[in-house]
């Protein structure tokens, strides 16, 4: 009936599909590079860029240092580091790419727990050596994953008792309403049970909430001795400002999230963070505890525009050295062999202290400390203590613990597996 129009439409569509083919066709270049390669997937844009960028910078710094000092096993390490843009689905795709196409020998990836969980099926399927470096809720027991950040138990375990001793035992918990926040809240409850503290209020707040006036009124109503805050992300930071506006700086806050990651004490004017006590393994203000080294200076020399050298970045940094050491010892980049060496337990000299990797659980024994911000947001460190991954090592599985040297596992334990919370 209308052959003219019909035919021209077809021409175009045909051409269009053909184009799609040819573009898709040019992507065939599979196969990794011959030399050793590491993958870095850290967010430099999107929601988590504030924390992700310094993680990326520190990882690069460590690898570049190793390369400058002659590389590993005589080879220079190549870096593949696309920007996953804080998007979990992009993470999945890029993880596949780094493993299958670039064939990375080790992978550093992801800020949030959700990202870790998003790529975990891929990591497990390919048995990829993977360092997850964010401080996190804890409990991951997985063959090829090394969660080297401090866990909630380590962080909260140092700061909560300290505050209870200093200020009293009535605690108000506010935490982000998702896995990390809820499990962190559980850990505070566990600590309260063990030490006889009172949880007088407990509140979980959606991640996109920015208005804390009702939360603040409820806290005022309960009048706790101190607050435990496991708020997360840029939206939640507003709590600290609103706390200052309402003149509540005299109620101390214990936290595992503020300051050491998003450097709120620098980005906010005093007194927003005054009287905030963070349980941390590292902060820029700690400097470098190693002899004759200056991590902070090196970092800013390499990245003059960097905002802050945060706790996670240090984890990335030392875990690169941890891996390099294991490669040297294994005398190969073969992941299975490297993991075997790592599982023997490794000592590493980190800016935050002499640390030990617990081979059985793949977690670190960290030097934990309490970082306190004063009226001028000056940071001081107290209550230094070495804390190991006791939950995974001694408590789960009815006390048998998680021992990845003995058995294969790809699981995550939560406090309620052991405690009544």
């Amino acid at each position: 009936m209308n052959s003219d129009r019909v035919s021209r439409r077809s021409v175009l569509a045909a051409a269009g599909t053909g184009l799609g083919m040819s573009v898709a066709g040019c992507s065939g270049s599979g196969g990794g590079s011959s030399g050793p390669t590491v993958g870095i997937l850290e967010d430099r844009s999107g929601n988590f860029q504030l924390n992700g960028t310094s993680k990326w910078q520190a990882t690069r710094l460590a690898i570049e240092e190793i390369n400058e000092n002659g590389g590993l096993l005589g080879e220079q390490i190549e870096i593949v580091d696309p920007d996953p843009q804080s998007d979990n689905s992009r993470y999945q795709e890029l993880t596949e790419r780094l493993i299958l196409q670039d064939q990375v020998d080790a992978l550093w990836a992801g800020y949030s727990s959700a990202t870790r969980e998003a790529i975990r099926p891929i990591i497990n399927e390919n048995e990829q050596l993977y360092f997850y470096t964010t401080q996190y809720e804890g409990g991951v027991c997985d063959n090829t994953i090394f969660p080297v950040g401090a866990t909630a138990r380590q962080q909260l375990g140092i700061v909560t008792p300290y505050l209870a001793d200093e200020f009293g035992e009535d605690i108000y918990i506010i935490a982000a309403d998702y896995n990390f926040g809820q499990l962190s809240g559980d850990w505070v409850n566990v600590l309260a049970q063990e030490n006889g503290y009172n949880i007088i209020g407990e509140e979980y707040i959606p991640l996109d909430e920015t208005d804390f006036s009702s939360v603040i009124n409820r806290i005022q109503d309960e009048d706790p001795d101190f607050i435990m805050s496991m708020l997360v992300g840029a939206n939640h930071e507003n709590f600290y400002d609103q706390r200052a506006t309402n003149g509540m700086e005299d109620i101390p806050i214990g936290t595992s999230t503020a300051m050491a990651q998003g450097h709120e004490h620098i980005r906010y004017d005093p007194p927003a963070l005054t009287n905030v006590y963070a349980g941390v393994s590292y902060m820029e203000e700690l400097g470098d505890l190693r002899e004759g080294e200056n991590f902070v200076e090196d970092f800013y020399d390499r990245w003059p525009d960097a905002n802050y050298l945060n706790q996670e970045a240090q984890n990335n940094y030392f875990s690169v050295y941890l891996w390099a050491e294991a490669v040297r010892e294994a005398e190969t980049f073969d992941q299975e062999a490297v993991i075997e060496v790592l599982e023997e337990g490794q000592e590493v000299s980190a800016p935050s202290g002499e640390l030990t990797l617990d081979g059985a659980t793949h977690h670190m024994e960290h030097e934990m400390r309490v970082a306190e911000a004063d009226e001028e947001h000056e940071i001081s460190f107290t209550n230094n203590e070495r804390i190991g991954p006791s939950f995974l090592r001694e408590e789960v599985e009815g006390g048998a613990g998680c021992d990845l040297r003995e058995e294969d596992k790809t699981t995550q334990y939560v406090p309620s597996d052991v405690y009544d919370v």
Binding site: V6, R9, S10, G16, M21, G28, N88, L100, A118
Partner: protein
């Protein structure tokens, strides 16, 4: 009209008759020839490229269902849903819940059916709520977006162990494990992974695409277009407009649900960000760029844009990865400003005008075969 004696040819003609019509681009033998070549090429593709490329392309294919779904309801019936991802995500979650609780191959196949069913029913309920309640135009767009956002907020806080269906933990913000699609009977099944998943997706996409072509070129397709063009007038021809829109929206929901199941089992994972505003905007982007009234455009745009986004995340040449989002945003702006109808319809129009000019000059015999160059 030529009398066709050959029975086989007449069957083919009849088939083409159903597949072709004014509502689709690509109605000629050359199109079908190229189409066949493309399908053959895509069938060979996994043999030519690395496994990563195969996996990556599978992901684009899964997302393409979402694009087809939106192109169908928006391009043909004028219903712009900003929340197709809701049915996509609901189906993925449902597939995970059923699949984790029952793990034999038969049961996973049942999970596939169940998940698509749940996604479809969800769309039907939302559609009934909207179209029989007089919700129209932008308000449909906003309402679907808000529904996705409700799911996003709600699912993000389902981390606790109390949020479980049988053994399947919903997992909150950290998301939920999803089993791989498996074909088979009883315990023995064939797991759809990598190339197998690719072929399954390719076959499903081709069947869906052809099916949708038949549908939009049928009398139902004309009804959809009539409603898109003038809802009130169409009602006065005796059409039950809310019902037609409900049917269209439900079909769209089913397509999104199919994509959701594939997508979930592709990454063995689903999380609440599928309900978030950033993911919700993607189908709108693909479909607007490809041309909302063109199914083939929506398919092509999905694959190409997603591919470009991936490539950009590692930077292309001198362009650093930080420019990825700027380029994507700029592209979108450019297409809307300079090609409001989308790439495929605009280019089609352009070619038509070129051809017309050639015809006027009398230098062309005007056969489609020639014009394909």
């Amino acid at each position: 009209m030529s009398e066709s004696v050959d029975a086989e040819a007449s069957v083919l003609d009849r088939l083409r008759g159903r597949l072709e019509g004014p509502n689709t681009y690509g109605n000629s033998l050359p199109f079908w020839a190229v189409f066949a070549v493309v399908i053959a090429g895509l069938a060979l593709y996994p043999q030519l490229v690395g496994v990563y490329t195969v996996i990556q392309t599978s992901r684009y294919f899964a997302l393409a269902f979402l694009a087809l779904s939106l192109s169908f309801i928006w391009g043909y019936a004028g219903i712009l849903s900003f929340g197709q991802v809701a049915f996509f995500g609901v189906a993925a979650y449902t597939f995970g819940i059923i699949g984790l609780n029952f793990s034999s191959a038969t049961e996973i196949m049942a999970a596939l059916v169940g998940a698509i069913l749940v996604g479809t029913v969800a769309a039907a309920i939302v559609g009934y709520f909207m179209f029989y309640g007089g919700v129209r135009d932008t308000y449909v767009t906003i309402m679907t977006l808000v529904i996705a956002l409700v799911l996003n907020t709600f699912m993000a806080q389902t981390a606790g162990s109390e949020w479980a269906v049988g053994v399947a933990q919903l997992g909150g913000f950290n998301g939920m494990d999803i089993p791989s699609l498996t074909l088979g009977i009883g315990q023995s099944g064939f797991v759809l992974e990598r190339a197998a998943l690719y072929y399954a997706l390719l076959a499903a996409l081709v069947v869906t695409y052809l099916g949708l072509r038949v549908l939009v070129n049928s009398s139902f397709g004309l009804t959809m277009v009539a409603i898109r063009e003038d809802e009130a007038r169409t009602r006065t021809f005796g059409y039950d407009v809310p019902f037609v829109k409900l049917v269209v929206f439900t079909i769209g929901g089913a397509l999104a649900a199919v994509g959701g199941v594939f997508y979930g089992s592709w990454g063995n994972y689903i999380d609440p960000t599928v309900f978030g505003i950033a993911f919700a905007a993607l189908p709108v982007v693909w479909v607007s760029v490809g041309g909302r009234e063109s199914l083939v455009g929506a398919l092509g745009a999905t694959v190409l844009i997603e591919r470009m986004r991936t490539e950009l995340s590692s930077g292309i040449g001198p362009i650093g990865s930080e420019w990825a989002l700027v380029i994507v945003g700029g592209l979108l702006l450019g297409v809307i400003l300079f090609m409001p109808a989308g790439v495929v319809p605009t280019a089609d129009d352009l070619i038509a005008r070129l051809r017309d000019r050639r015809t006027e000059r009398g230098q062309s015999t005007n056969t489609p075969e020639e014009a394909i160059e």
